[in-house]
């Protein structure tokens, strides 16, 4: 039964739509303004010198600077980002999936202790410096593995995965064992296909984490050839900041450098576009995963 809206209510609905449109614009405007800034030519920048919504003569100067030249810094950074995202996600899923599978077994002796082993790091950590000393003394710093090996398991996501696996009926496994399957076959033939939805969701969590990761790649690594795309963006953001010892001259060919602001804008676009391209396809998995995790916390 739908009751006819009173004039007050109609006003409310109208106001609500207007407000939500304004809010949506607030999410889009920074991005749009960055997009238009990235197309401003050096000449127009020098002449107008302030905010430009629609460039008079849009150019790809900034993009040519980023992708052109013989040093190939941005291409190489994409390569590193793809490597850490693909290899990192596969390894993370393997470790997390195996851990979750074992912890999901209700009759396993020592299960509580093993769960505790996963849980404790969620509430207490050794902190940045002891962690640095460990990865440094293991000689992981200044290698591509600094972005992968120390981050194989996110305890929170492992426990979400375990909760999912615990919803799979034990009878399926018992039936397979009855038919003479061994535990490995049960894992691969029974549990693996059934956990595909959870693996996809958690896998996307890890993939986005790896794609977006920058801190350890920037701080525990000083080899510029190993910089992922996010770290290149960070270096470019500090352009024009006197306190920053810039290494852009080494990473790019500094002659014909476009204005700092357009270069920053173009690099933001270069870093964001891949996310925007996959966003429509992956976002529903994230919402689902978030709601599964949200049931408990």
């Amino acid at each position: 039964m739908r009751i006819k809206a009173t004039p007050m209510e109609r006003l409310f609905y109208l106001g609500n739509y207007v407000f939500l449109i304004v809010v949506s614009l607030l999410f889009l405007i920074p991005f749009i303004s960055v997009l238009s800034t990235s197309f401003i030519s050096t000449a127009e920048w020098a002449r107008r010198g302030n905010f430009v919504l629609i460039p008079e003569a849009p150019t790809l100067e900034a993009y040519q600077f980023l992708f052109g030249g013989s040093k190939g810094t941005v291409f190489n950074a994409y390569k590193i980002t793809f490597f850490r995202t693909i290899v990192g996600t596969i390894l993370c899923l393997t470790f997390t999936g195996l851990g979750a599978y074992v912890l999901a077994r209700r009759n396993l002796p020592g299960r509580t202790f093993m769960t505790l082993l996963v849980f404790i790091p969620m509430v207490f950590s050794g902190g940045l410096i002891p962690f640095y000393l460990v990865v440094d003394r293991l000689r992981l710093t200044n290698t591509v593995w600094i972005m992968i090996t120390p981050f194989l398991v996110n305890p929170w996501w492992l426990l979400i995965m375990r909760n999912f696996l615990m919803t799979i009926p034990v009878e399926l496994e018992e039936a397979a064992l009855m038919d003479g399957a061994n535990p490995l076959t049960v894992l691969i033939r029974v549990y693996l296909p059934l956990s595909m939805p959870a693996l996809t969701t958690i896998g996307l969590f890890y993939a986005v984490w790896h794609w977006n990761g920058w801190f350890y790649a920037a701080v525990f690594n000083s080899n510029r050839d190993l910089y992922p795309i996010q770290v290149i963006l960070r270096s470019i953001l500090y352009l024009g900041d006197a306190s920053y010892r810039g290494d852009l001259g080494i990473m790019f060919e500094p002659e014909m450098m476009p204005p700092a602001q357009t270069l920053k804008a173009a690099m933001i676009i270069v870093t964001t576009v891949p996310i925007l391209l996959v966003y429509p396809f992956i976002q529903r998995y994230f919402v689902k995963g978030m709601l599964i995790g949200g049931v408990k916390g």
Binding site: V23, T37, P109, P121, G127, Y132, L187, W214, Y279
Partner: protein, 304 residues
């Protein structure tokens, strides 16, 4: 003994599967926890693992130095104030957004505005910082453009202690509000539509319905998320601040995490920085335990 053998024969395969995870956790989570002992030593950058382990303990010297230093209270104040300001704004914002989106009856409009609102959640902190740098740029930035249009003077907002925290809070709300609204919207979708119809017939206004039906209906989600937020209160946003701050705003921006980073990794005072980090870890753990206890007291299941 035979008991152990029996368990191993029956479950050995699964212990074997768990071995890589256990190894990972021990090396990268538990060894650093043991490594906290360097907070009670004087470790220098060039010591080997063996030298670090065998070097002598010096007690609480680094802690005492930290508590007595003039920046201790500044760091505490900045950490707590930034975190509290962020909570004050970014905690209610998703509830409000969810309430408004929940009132939209057009499915397409609802879905599109939701999808747009949680897009920033997928951006890395570097991208978000980049957007801030460009939008707040002194020359050619959108914000300063608007300021000039309305008769003001262009300013370097990011380098201004009066504006820096506002930018941090605004950025956080911008990045988290949409994603944060998902849980609330899911909770609202679970409420019984008949309650609203009954309220409508009784002539309850929209505001009254929100106050007496919607908010009580989602209160358990609000309470539990608020308690989690309190448990995380010492996390004021390390990556965000590290990317956006500069020496000119240290007085209002430097938090415990950024201080540990500079003292430890830039100035190589490993032991001192570890002591500061340990102080924060213990404080954070106590907060979390208290928040969890409080959740149980209110009749909610906490994180454990």
């Amino acid at each position: 003994m035979t008991e152990v053998l029996r368990i191993l024969r029956k479950h050995g395969f699964y212990y074997l599967l768990f071995l890589p995870v256990a190894g990972y956790l021990i090396i990268f989570k538990y060894v650093p926890m043991i490594g906290i002992m360097i907070a009670f030593k004087d470790v220098t950058p060039f010591m080997s693992m063996g030298e670090i382990v065998t070097s002598s303990f010096i007690g609480f010297k680094h802690f005492v130095n930290f508590f007595n230093s003039f920046f201790f209270w500044d760091l505490m104040e900045n950490t707590l104030m930034i975190s509290i300001y962020k909570t004050l704004w970014s905690f209610p914002a998703p509830i409000l957004l969810a309430l408004l989106i929940n009132e939209v009856h057009n499915t397409y409009f609802k879905r599109i505005s939701q999808t747009i609102s949680y897009l920033p959640h997928f951006f890395s902190m570097v991208i978000v910082a980049g957007l801030v740098y460009v939008v707040f740029g002194v020359q050619g930035g959108l914000v300063n453009h608007l300021v000039v249009l309305t008769g003001g003077e262009p300013q370097h907002y990011l380098g201004d202690p009066r504006w820096f925290r506002t930018i941090l809070v605004g950025t956080t709300v911008w990045q988290t509000v949409g994603w944060g609204s998902i849980l609330y919207l899911a909770a609202m979708a679970g409420l019984n539509p008949e309650t609203y119809e009954a309220a409508n017939i009784d002539g309850a206004s929209k505001i009254q319905q929100v106050r007496h039906i919607t908010l009580p209906g989602i209160s358990h989600v609000i309470v539990i998320l608020f308690i989690f937020r309190i448990g995380d209160l010492l996390d004021a946003g390390f990556e965000q601040i590290l990317l956006l701050y500069s020496p000119s705003v240290y007085e209002v921006a430097d938090i415990i995490d950024t201080y540990v980073y500079r003292a430890g990794l830039l100035n190589l005072k490993y032991s001192f920085a570890s002591a500061v980090g340990l102080y924060k870890s213990i404080l954070a753990l106590l907060l979390l335990l208290a928040a969890n206890k409080f959740a149980n007291f209110l009749g909610h299941q906490g994180i454990w």
